[in-house]
Symmetry: C2
Subunit: 107 residues, 2 copies
């Protein structure tokens, strides 16, 4: 799990995959994680998808400018277009600014 502090930006991506082109999707998802990690202000990414194809991915950014640069990244935009053409039945992106957090680890 990432270190996320007050003021950081969470980009919350919720999606329903439809089962089309699983190999292409997997390759693109892996490439996007690598690309995001190379962007300025990147703080982390977490992704969970269940057996029904419902997924939540959260990318964490130092500030709003970093989140917007990621939104506007050309490779990211190209993958979004492929996602609408092929992989998703629906998705939702929500951007939110962190106000506080708490972490617990079994001792």
């Amino acid at each position: 799990m990432t270190q996320d502090g007050p003021g950081e930006i969470a980009v919350i991506f919720r999606s329903q995959r439809n089962g089309t082109d699983p190999a292409g999707y997997a390759a693109a998802a892996a490439a996007m994680e690598v690309r995001a990690a190379a962007m300025p202000g990147y703080r982390g990414i977490e992704s969970v998808r269940d057996a029904e194809g419902v997924g939540i991915t959260i990318s964490w950014w130092a500030d709003e400018a970093a989140a917007i640069a990621w939104r506007d990244d050309p490779a990211h935009a190209a993958v979004r277009e492929r996602g609408r053409a092929l992989w998703y039945d629906r998705y939702e992106v929500t951007v939110a600014q962190v106000t506080r957090g708490y972490r617990w680890v079994r001792g």
Copy 2:
């Protein structure tokens, strides 16, 4: 997926389950979804867990006061204690305020 608008609060709960007491966990998770939905300012909840036990749950609230009331709800606090005693190896809670969002549905 929920309707979430600017100013709303996302409570992002990320966790690693350890496989202990799956029936007790499932019952408590279902009860907590019902209880959350009855709280003032509740806007929705979404939960995804993968085969490795990694989960992301996001509950959405009208404002900070509603999110705090949910945090302080006695039944919710009691379940958190059971979660630390039994179900989780680690978890992280992050509270963030929504600034913007976008939704796409296949036409």
